[in-house]
C-alpha cells in the first residue's frame, strides 16, 4: 500500500540528463534582444543561418493567390515553352505579361513588415529560431496561432507555410537554403531558386514522367503556391530580359 505521492526525484527524469545544447541559438538571440532592445538588426546580422532562412521565409510568404495560379495553369502550355528554352516570341510576350503581374506579389510582403511595426519583434525572433532549428513543428503551429491576430492576409500566407511544412517542402527548402551557401557554384544565383528546386525535385521524385505540363497542373494545390510565387518572379525577370533586348 502506498499513499499518493506527487513528487519524485528529478534525477530520475530526462530533464536531469538533458544536455544544454538545445535552444542555445534562441537563448543567444533573446539575450541579444534584451541587450540591444529595438536594435535587433545587429543580433540578426550575427547569425549567418538566420539571414539565409529569414530571406527564404520572406520569399515563401510571398505566395500567389488563386487568380494568379489560375492564370498560370491556364497558360501552362505556353509556360512549358517559356521555361524550356524561351525561344519563341510567344513565350517572351507571356513572360513579360506575367512579369508585370508578378510585381503584385511583393505586396504580400508588406504584411510581414506590419507585424514588426505592430511591435512584435519578440515574435520575430521566435520565427527566426523556429526556422533556424529546422522548423520545430510545434513552433510552426505556434506561429499560426500568433498570426491569427494579424489579419486574414497574414493567416493565408501562414497557412501556405503550414501546408508546406506538412508536406515537407518547407523543411527541404530551409535545409537547402541554409546549405547552399556552403557550395561554390554561383552562390548568388542559386539561393533564390531553392524553392523551385525543392518543388521540381519532389515532383520528379514522386511522379511518373508527366513533364512540366503535368507538374504545373499539379500546382493548383495550396501547398504548391509558394513554388508558384517563385515561378512568377522567375518569369518576371525573364520578361524584363526580353523587353530589354
Amino acid at each position: 500500500m502506498a499513499d499518493r505521492t506527487e513528487s519524485y526525484p528529478e534525477s530520475a527524469t530526462h530533464g536531469a540528463r538533458r544536455t544544454t545544447s538545445d535552444g542555445e541559438g534562441e537563448a543567444a538571440l533573446r539575450g541579444a534582444l534584451d541587450e540591444h532592445g529595438e536594435d535587433l538588426a545587429a543580433a540578426v546580422a550575427a547569425s549567418d543561418e538566420l539571414a539565409d532562412v529569414l530571406a527564404t521565409a520572406v520569399l515563401i510568404v510571398a505566395s500567389a493567390d488563386e487568380t494568379e495560379i489560375e492564370y498560370v495553369t491556364e497558360s501552362s502550355a505556353n509556360l512549358v515553352e517559356a521555361v524550356d528554352g524561351l525561344t519563341t516570341a510567344e513565350a517572351a510576350a507571356l513572360a513579360g505579361q506575367v512579369g508585370e503581374n508578378g510585381d503584385e506579389l511583393s505586396a504580400t510582403l508588406e504584411t510581414v513588415l506590419e507585424l514588426e511595426r505592430a511591435g512584435h519583434t519578440d515574435d520575430l525572433v521566435r520565427i527566426a529560431s523556429a526556422f533556424s532549428e529546422s522548423l520545430s513543428p510545434a513552433e510552426v503551429e505556434e506561429l499560426a496561432t500568433m498570426f491569427e491576430e494579424h489579419g486574414s492576409e497574414m493567416v493565408d500566407a501562414v497557412d501556405v507555410l503550414l501546408d508546406l511544412a506538412r508536406e515537407d517542402h518547407l523543411e527541404d527548402l530551409v535545409d537547402l537554403a541554409a546549405a547552399t551557401s556552403a557550395l561554390e557554384i554561383e552562390p548568388a544565383a542559386i539561393e533564390g531558386a531553392n524553392t523551385v528546386l525543392a518543388a521540381v525535385g519532389d515532383a520528379q521524385r514522386e511522379a511518373e514522367p508527366v513533364g512540366l505540363l503535368g507538374l504545373l497542373a499539379g500546382l493548383r494545390g495550396r501547398d504548391a503556391r509558394a513554388g508558384m510565387g517563385y515561378l512568377l518572379a522567375l518569369l518576371r525577370a525573364q520578361g524584363r530580359r526580353f523587353r530589354e533586348r
Binding site: A45, A138, E142, E191
Partner: protein, 768 residues
C-alpha cells in the same frame, strides 16, 4: 546566400526603417534580387534545371545520411498511418511520407499528432530511472536490479499468500503486439491469474462482443479501401474528423465525389458538416433509432432478400423485434423525426454499397453490445457485408487496441486469437506451451477489478501504460482503490496520476524506441521500428517483462520481438502466417492469415461468417435505455468525448506546446437556450455535478449539442470529467462503462476561468 548582403541591404536600402523592419525590407529586396539572378542564370543556361536538381539531390542526400530514418507505424490512434521518422538519436526531428507501398492505409497523409506529436519523447519529466519508495514512503531513484527485486517480491508475496487470483495486470494497447502477448503470458504463467485486461474494456469491448456474436470476429470487416469506394456511409457516435482525421479525409473526399453520408449523433460534430443527412439523437438510445431504420427497411421490402436467405439466421426474430420501433416511438425517445428515419433507410437501401461506421458513441453504454448488434443486423439485412465497399467499421482508438488489446489476448476470457479460456483443448495447448496451470474460470475485466478490490478479492496490480486514475469511470472510486492496494507496480513513460500510487514505477520506452508490430483498425499488422535508442535507462516493455518473469522463477529467453512473434503465430491460428519477415516484405498483413502461404484477408465474410454454420446470426434487440436517465434533480445528459489536438488523458499531447495552444484546457459545451435559462455566458465557469462528483470548467455555449445535453472532453486531469461518470453500471456482455451518458446538473460557478498553464502541463497527466 551571401549572408552579409542581407544586413547590408537592411542598413543601406531600407531607408528610414530600423531594426527588424529594416532587416526584413532588406531581406525582401535581396531575395527578389536573388530570384532575378537565378532567372537570368536559367535563361542564360548557365545553370540548367538538371544541374540545379542534381545539386538539390546531393545536398539532401548528404544531410539525410547523418540521420537515422526508419519507416514506422504511428503510435497515436488506430488508423495505422505509416511514415518515415527522422532522428539524430536524441529526438525525433521530422515525420515524412514513406514509400506508398509501405503505407497502405494513409499513403502520404498524416494528422497533426502523428506529424508533430513527439515532444513527449524528450519531455523533461520523461521517467528515465526506476522509482521505489523509501522508508518514509517517498519516491527515490533505484537501480533496475533493486526495482525488479522489489516488484518481484511484492507481487510474489501476494501470489504466495492469497493465490494468483488476488493479482491482476492491466495491459497497454499502446505497446506492441509482441509485448501484449507477453503481458497475457506473464499474468497467466508467472502470476497465475486470468485477470488481465486493457483499455478496450473502456471503449470497444462491446463492439468486439456484439460483432463476435453476430458475425464471428470482433473486428472491422472492411479494409480502408472500402471506406474510400463505398456509395454510402452511416456513421454514428464518431467524431471522425477529430479522433480519426486521416480516415475522415478519405470519407470527405468520397462524399465530395458523390457518396451519401448519414450522420446520427447527439453533437453536430464536424463530420456532420459534410453529411448529406445529419440527425441529432438523444444520447443513450442508439438501438432505438437503428431499429427504427431496420423496421422501415424490412416493412417496405427494401432488404436484401437473397443475402438474408442465404447468409443469415434470425431474420424473422429481428423483423419481429423491430416492430415496436414505430416512427412515432423513435421520435418520442430519440428526437429523430419520422421523415429522417425514412430518408436514412431509403438512402441505405438504395445505395449499391454501404459502410456502417461507429466509435464510442455507440459502445460506451450500459447496453453497448445491444447497440452494436442492432447495427450488425442493419448491415446484414441490407446485404452490406463481404463485398467491396461494404461492411462494418468500428474505428478503433488506441494505436494497437485491435492487436495488442484484443488479438494478443491480454484478456480475462481469451487467449491470443480470441481462443476461449474456458475451452479445455485450447487451455491445454497454452498450459503445455507455457508450462503452467491455467484456471478455466474467467478473470476480472478492468472495470470489475476495481470493484473486486473493494472486497479485497484483488490485492495487487501491475499496470502497464494505462492511466487508470483518470480513465476509469468514477475516478474518485478508482483513486481510493489504488491507494488501498497491498502492492502496485506501474510501468509507464511518466509518473502518471496512477503511478503516484505505485510502490514501484518502472520506466518504459515509447514506440519510437523499440521494434515490433501494431495491428490497426482494419486488421492490418504493420511494422514498428526503432528510430532512436531508449531514453536514459528506460526499457521496452518486453524486456522489462522478461526480466521480471525471470526474477519470479521463469526462464524467458527472447532475443527479439521477432522471436516473440514466432511464438505468437505458433499458438494463434489467426496470426498463423504473420512473421516480422513477411510483414516487412509485404508492407502489412491483414488477419486472418492462417499460414505462411496465406495472403491475409482484405475483407471479412466474403464467403462465409466465422460462425459454426458460416452464417451471420442476427440477434433480436429490444428497447434499451441508459442506466441513469435525467430527472428533476439532474436534468441534463452529460456525454464525453475527444478533440482533435488532444489524445486520451493527455500523457503524450499535453507535453506538446504547440498543441496545448490549440486546446489548452477543459470545457463543457452547453446549448444557447440552456445557457440563457441558467444565466451562463460563453467562457463563464460552470459547475457540472452528477451523483458521483462535480467539476468546474468554462462553458462553451454552442448549438453543437442539443438543449438537454452537455458535452465535455476527456483529456484533462485538472478537471477529470470521469469524476462524474458511473463505475457501477456496466454493459452485461462486455463490461463497458457508460461514459456516454450520465445525468448531471449545471450551475454557474464563482471565479475566473483559468487556462491550463505550463506548470499544469509539466505536472503531467496520464495515459490510457
Amino acid at each position: 546566400m551571401a549572408v552579409s548582403d542581407a544586413p547590408d541591404g537592411a542598413a543601406g536600402e531600407a531607408g528610414d526603417l530600423d531594426g527588424v523592419a529594416g532587416y526584413m525590407q532588406g531581406a525582401k529586396e535581396q531575395a527578389l534580387k536573388n530570384v532575378e539572378q537565378v532567372a537570368e542564370g536559367v535563361a542564360a543556361e548557365t545553370l540548367p534545371e538538371g544541374k540545379l536538381f542534381e545539386i538539390a539531390q546531393s545536398i539532401g542526400d548528404k544531410r539525410l545520411s547523418e540521420l537515422t530514418v526508419e519507416d514506422t507505424t504511428c503510435g497515436y490512434c488506430a488508423v495505422g498511418c505509416r511514415f518515415d521518422l527522422y532522428s539524430d538519436g536524441e529526438e525525433i526531428l521530422a515525420a515524412r511520407p514513406t514509400a506508398e507501398e509501405d503505407a497502405p492505409v494513409n499513403g502520404i497523409s498524416t494528422c497533426v499528432k502523428g506529424k508533430f506529436g513527439y515532444d513527449f519523447v524528450n519531455s523533461d519529466d520523461r521517467l528515465t530511472s526506476p522509482l521505489v519508495r523509501d522508508e518514509d514512503g517517498a519516491f527515490r531513484e533505484a537501480t533496475w536490479d533493486e526495482a525488479l527485486a522489489r516488484a518481484a517480491e511484492g507481487l510474489g508475496a501476494i501470489r504466495d499468500e492469497h493465490g494468483g487470483d488476488a493479482l491482476s495486470v492491466i495491459a497497454s494497447s499502446k505497446a506492441t503486439n509482441e509485448e501484449n502477448y507477453l503481458m497475457g503470458k506473464f499474468a497467466r504463467q508467472v502470476l497465475g491469474t486470468n485477470s488481465v485486461d486493457n483499455c478496450n474494456r473502456l471503449c470497444h469491448s462491446s463492439t468486439v462482443a456484439g460483432l463476435a456474436k453476430t458475425y464471428g470476429y470482433g473486428a472491422a470487416s472492411v479494409s480502408v479501401d472500402d471506406l474510400e469506394e463505398t456509395d454510402c456511409y452511416l456513421i454514428t457516435g464518431s467524431n471522425t474528423t477529430e479522433a480519426h482525421p486521416v480516415i475522415a479525409t478519405r470519407i470527405k473526399q468520397n462524399v465530395r465525389d458523390g457518396a451519401d453520408l448519414l450522420v446520427f449523433d447527439p453533437r453536430e460534430v464536424q463530420i456532420a458538416e459534410y453529411a448529406t443527412q445529419y440527425s441529432r439523437v438523444e444520447p443513450g438510445y442508439d438501438a432505438v433509432w437503428i431499429n427504427g431504420i431496420t423496421r422501415h427497411i424490412v416493412n417496405n421490402d427494401l432488404h436484401d432478400e437473397a443475402f438474408v436467405a442465404e447468409r443469415t439466421t434470425g431474420f424473422e426474430d429481428v423483423r419481429e423485434a423491430v416492430q415496436e420501433f414505430t416512427p412515432e416511438r423513435v421520435e418520442e425517445v430519440t428526437g429523430v423525426p419520422p421523415a429522417e428515419i425514412e430518408a436514412a433507410a431509403e438512402t441505405i437501401a438504395a445505395a449499391d454499397t454501404c459502410v456502417f461506421g461507429w466509435t464510442l458513441g455507440l459502445t460506451e453504454h450500459s447496453h453497448g453490445t445491444e447497440n452494436v448488434m442492432a447495427m450488425a443486423n442493419l448491415a446484414a439485412v441490407t446485404g452490406n457485408l463481404g463485398e467491396p465497399g461494404t461492411g462494418v467499421s468500428p474505428f478503433r482508438g488506441q494505436n494497437n487496441v485491435q492487436g495488442g488489446g484484443g488479438d494478443m489476448g491480454p484478456l480475462p476470457d481469451n487467449f491470443p486469437g480470441y481462443q476461449d479460456v474456458a475451452d479445455d483443448e485450447v487451455r491445454a495447448k497454452f498450459e503445455d506451451a507455457w508450462d503452467c496451470d491455467i484456471s478455466p474460470e474467467y478473470g476480472y475485466y478492468t472495470t470489475q477489478m476495481f470493484l473486486a478490490a473493494d472486497d479485497d478479492d484483488l490485492r495487487g496490480m501491475y499496470i502497464i501504460g494505462e492511466n487508470a486514475a483518470l480513465s476509469e469511470p468514477g475516478v474518485n472510486h478508482a483513486e481510493e482503490i489504488l491507494a488501498d492496494l497491498d502492492f502496485l507496480v506501474v510501468q509507464d513513460l511518466f509518473v502518471t496520476e496512477t503511478a503516484e500510487y505505485a510502490d514501484v514505477v518502472l520506466p518504459a520506452s515509447s514506440f519510437v524506441e523499440k521494434t515490433g508490430t501494431f495491428t490497426n483498425t482494419d486488421r492490418t499488422v504493420q511494422m514498428v521500428k526503432q528510430v532512436m535508442p531508449p531514453k536514459g535507462d528506460s526499457r521496452p516493455d518486453w524486456k522489462i517483462l522478461q526480466a521480471l518473469a525471470n526474477r519470479m522463477g521463469r526462464d524467458w529467453d527472447y532475443d527479439s520481438t521477432a522471436e516473440i512473434m514466432e511464438e505468437v503465430n505458433s499458438l494463434t491460428p489467426l496470426y498463423g502466417g504473420v512473421s516480422h519477415e513477411r510483414v516487412e516484405a509485404e508492407g502489412g498483413l491483414q488477419w486472418p492469415c492462417w499460414d505462411e502461404d496465406h495472403p491475409g484477408t482484405e475483407r471479412l465474410y466474403a464467403e462465409e461468417f466465422n460462425t459454426d454454420d458460416g452464417k451471420a446470426h442476427l440477434q433480436a434487440v429490444g428497447f434499451s435505455e441508459p442506466a441513469e436517465t435525467p430527472d428533476e434533480e439532474y436534468p441534463f445528459t452529460l456525454t464525453t468525448g475527444r478533440v482533435l489536438y488532444q489524445y486520451h488523458t493527455g500523457t503524450m499531447t499535453h507535453r506538446e506546446e504547440g498543441i496545448m495552444q490549440y486546446t489548452p484546457s477543459d470545457f463543457v459545451e452547453i446549448h444557447p437556450d440552456t445557457a440563457v435559462d441558467h444565466g451562463i455566458e460563453d467562457g463563464d465557469l460552470v459547475r457540472v455535478e452528477s451523483r458521483r462528483g462535480s467539476i468546474v470548467v468554462p462553458a462553451q455555449v454552442t448549438d453543437r449539442v442539443g438543449p438537454d445535453t452537455v458535452f465535455a472532453p476527456i483529456h484533462f486531469a485538472e478537471s477529470a470529467v470521469n469524476r462524474l461518470t458511473d463505475e457501477e453500471h456496466l454493459d452485461p456482455a462486455a463490461a463497458t462503462p457508460e461514459f456516454k451518458v450520465s445525468a448531471v446538473r449545471v450551475a454557474p460557478a464563482e471565479g475566473e476561468a483559468e487556462p491550463v498553464t505550463a506548470a499544469d502541463v509539466d505536472a503531467g497527466t496520464g495515459d490510457d
